[in-house]
Symmetry: C2
Subunit: 77 residues, 2 copies
């Protein structure tokens, strides 16, 4: 798998789970205590996010970290 | 969950899966094309490893990335 794909697939999954919670990017950014611009860039697949931030996002979305790596889709939903 | 716990739990899981493949740290480092010292520090929970490296490790261990976040144990096995 291409490295850039990994970031894009991860970002789409975050967006999907964030929307499933009914949160805007702004609301999610507040809950996770990250910049809205950072959250946006993660969702767009522009960030090589760290393990600690991955786990912080999972905790905020109230899913196990493994859930962030499930249901990766190449097609935009 | 404490941030340092996340790195320790992740590192232990990598070590477990690496051993399950029958690889020494040296062999794993060669396959994954990372420094042996880096692999050692990841296993000891000293690295806030990036998404791309997480996925590269999963690919090398021939497991889905989500598997690296399963069966996290606080106790040393």
């Amino acid at each position: 798998m291409d490295k850039s794909d990994v970031k894009v697939l991860f970002g789409r999954r975050i967006r999907e789970l964030r929307k499933a919670r009914g949160w805007s990017q702004e609301e999610f950014a507040l809950h996770v205590d990250m910049d809205r611009s950072y959250v946006g860039s993660v969702e767009r697949g522009e960030r090589n996010i760290s393990l600690e931030n991955i786990c912080l996002i999972a905790e905020t979305l109230e899913v196990p970290p493994s859930e962030l790596f499930e249901n990766w889709r190449l097609a935009e939903s």
